[in-house]
Amino acid sequence: MSEKISRRDFLKLTAMGAATTAVMTGCGPMSRYVVRRPYTQMPEYNQTGESTYYASTCRECPAGCGIIVRTREGRALTIEGNPNHPVNRGRLCARGLTAQQGLYNPDRIRAPRFQGRSNPATPGRDLTWDEAVQVVATALQKPPQRIAFLLGLAPDHLYDLVSELTQALGAPPPLRYNALAALEGRTTLIEAVRRLFGSPALPYFDLAQAEVTLAFGADFLQSWLSPVTYTRAYGAMRQGNPRRRGELIVFEPRQSLTAGNADRWVPIVPGSEAHVVLALGQRVAELRGLPVPEAFRAVRPEEAAQVSGLPLEQLETLAQTFATATRPLALVGGSALTQPNGLVTAQAVLALNALVGNLGQPGGVFLSAAAATPTPLAEVKALVERMQAGEVDVLFIHGVNPLFEVPAALGFEAALARVPLVINFAAFPDETALKSDYLFPDHSPLESFGYQRSLAGSDRPAWSALQPVVVPLYDTRATVDVLLAAAQASGQALLPYRDEVDFIQQKILPLINAGGFYTAPEILTFWSRWLQHGGWWTPAAGLPTPTLERLPASFGTLTPPTPPAEGAFYLLTYANHLGDGSGANRPWLQELPDAMTTVTWNSWVEIHPRTAEELGLKDDDVVRITTPYGSVEASVYRYPAIRPDTLAIPFGQGHTALGRWAEGRGCNPAQVLPAGHNAAGDLAFIGTTATLTPTGRRRPLARVESKEGVYGEH
């Protein structure tokens, strides 16, 4: 590439600034060719023994925290938080801190490859990128209606590009899915906001300044929306408010990390959340001297008490605590949404906030600045039906592992076998990659350009930037570049972008005049600042205030939960630090004790100690959990903070692929989940019941709560 220039020249050029604007704009995306080399071929700007820091964005979950990567001699060492970033203010979670174990993971896919998927007679072989581009170009010439894209929740710039591409082709828009988003009920939340406030955005809750917070199933300290943002806010809520220490009350059947930190945990019957919120809302309205809105009258308090198992007096005390608080706030997510009543619960909780008048107030509810994309299971289901019916000729997959993340009951695997051409851009040989025809590996996030613009945790309009912090280790290629090259090679003038950087620059161009904390006279200087700061945001905090025109007369039909049959249990799953399961190949995430159980490297079934005693089960006894959709096996962990009629299995383990550290440990609860969805199209599994059968075997769990180790115990 003749345009290659070193970073130092680049900095010199951009430093010339405005005077050379006219010349600069004609140069093309020179920074595209800034190279960062490993220490064996050290770039000249690197000095032995000196660290170089790059600002980028964490892509380990969709939250989009700002990171600063410390590099030396061309190697990425530690991931630190970007102190100025509006999402995380310099802080990180365990997943973000282990991103380098993804970059340097020995099990990465290192080059484009063709796999003989179903036919042993066609052995797999490595390809060149020219061949790969040709394959994609040919695929893009299929009848547009028969092309499908399935993407994950990150990165946003790829989603934006594919949206434009499918539009230009006349193909259906790309679909997004992510297990973490499904488990947190993100789509339901977005739909509830759309119904009440008119725009499909994620809400932003000002937890830091709230004084009494009710949380319905939202595990904001570990997995919900933007865990670092909300953990920071939690710290401030406890000790940062000079007036009083904030109080937290959590309603959920199994104590999550958030409920574990609450002042009060209310273990209501799974599926009865909507009943509780509606009953609370009635009393709160009365106590505040307001007319009770029609929609809240859908249940009588006695009925709610009976369905949820929460005595009327306690309901009354909770209503009084909330109604008389100076800054009351109600949050909703996770187990309160991923159920048939989910959309009712979500609307009712948002309306409860409106009742106490905290919309747009300190300690209240705001709307995120950017629109959010829903990730409904219902649409994945529709895609599966099209695949089954032979209506999909080519399926492109990026950033999602449906054979692991989507409930097996949906039949994705069988449907995938019916698609004649599956092109996967996965960086790792995950379950879905192994069942694809072509692997065209994208760079690791730490080798990539990009942006994340839907930032649920930002208190202001913001875009977060990604840039490579090291030179790509292997023969991988940015998926955006592959698609652009293929679009060009297919002979149609589909997209007006030269390459990925050109695309990103065109997308961020409007930000120059959007009132950010920096600007520049032209895009190249703007671009260098964008990279330097790790994104763009406004100098002052400020988000749109939701406005509620009028409450609907009803939030939807309400189904009371069906109690489990004799000998059966409610079954639920939740995300811990392994998130959607893509983190399972980071050895330090495996070694990290689960916050509540301290178990490492495996799955477990949480059972209330009393229930375990009745069944004659001890810790580490292997049991089989069976639902109408399948069965899984795991060791018992006697968990004191779960309802005696409920079992829980964490999500994220049970990989049959994804490399040496992920494979063959634990079980995948997606194997036993139903494929049903709620009124918003989100996965609905709360209320599923399961039976438990002892297998007679034992398998000790490596728990850290026992400092001496557990092998001595048996």
Binding site: E80, R232, Q255, V266, W588
Partner: protein, 237 residues
């Protein structure tokens, strides 16, 4: 250049903020080249966490709640691990006034671990090889230990040294908050605060005077440099 005042490094752990999320453990491990040992070795009690979260359950269902307490080396002013080491591998550093582990002196008697009342010291039973190219992320500022060596939290002494050198080169004193161990920097709840206890105005000094303060096993007279602030309400402390 101004005469340097020796700092008295200290850490405050606010248990009312700490959520038990364990981000500190990972931040520490990747900064300090702490190896992961795998499922079996964890189950044998040989995990190498330099910082761990002690989780205890309190109360009975449904009033049951976990308490979380991150515990790292308490950097005792009067350290029980020091006098028992036959080869002076567990020593007090003059300059940082903290307890350091000198890996290339350690002969693995493990007397120090037996004598540490806080279970802060961990022993490297094996060489834990990292497959290529994973070694690329090893921090060149921190020794990669091999088997037979005792190791533990150093308050990220490499970061203290780096900060001090930078300040010296710029001819100024260290600013409060300029040096942060990896756990402190990562902690999303801002539960950890690090700084110079000899400066009464530093944030860490101010917090260490809080009415909620206590030290672990205070009665032993180890004079820890880590101060805990009690949780309020029904959790922590």
């Amino acid at each position: 250049m101004a005469e340097e005042r020796p700092a008295k490094w200290g850490l405050v752990v606010d248990l009312d903020r700490c959520t038990g999320c364990n981000a500190c453990i990972v931040a520490c491990a990747l900064e300090n080249n702490v190896p992961f040992v795998g499922e079996d070795e964890v189950a044998y009690g040989r995990a190498l966490y330099w910082i761990r979260t002690q989780r205890y359950w309190e109360g009975e269902y449904p009033e049951v709640t976990p308490t979380f307490q991150p515990v790292m080396c308490q950097q005792c002013g009067n350290a029980p691990c020091e006098p028992v080491c036959p080869v002076y591998a567990s020593v007090h550093s003059e300059e940082e006034q903290i307890n350091l582990a000198v890996y290339n002196r350690c002969v693995g008697t493990r007397y120090c671990a037996n004598n540490c009342p806080y279970f802060a010291r961990v022993f490297n039973w094996f060489d834990y090889e990292l497959p290529e190219p994973m070694r690329s992320y090893l921090n060149p500022d921190v020794t990669v230990r091999r088997r037979g060596v005792m190791e533990k939290c150093t308050f990220c002494v490499q970061r203290i040294v780096r900060g001090r050198q930078k300040a010296r080169a710029e001819g100024r004193e260290l600013r409060d908050g300029e040096v942060q161990p990896a756990c402190v920097q990562a902690c999303p709840a801002e539960a950890l605060v690090f700084g110079d206890l000899s400066d009464p105005e530093s944030r860490v000094s101010q917090l260490a005077r809080s009415q909620r303060r206590y030290h672990l096993l205070e009665a032993l007279g180890t004079l820890p440099r880590v101060t805990y602030l009690k949780g309020v309400g029904n959790h922590g402390g």
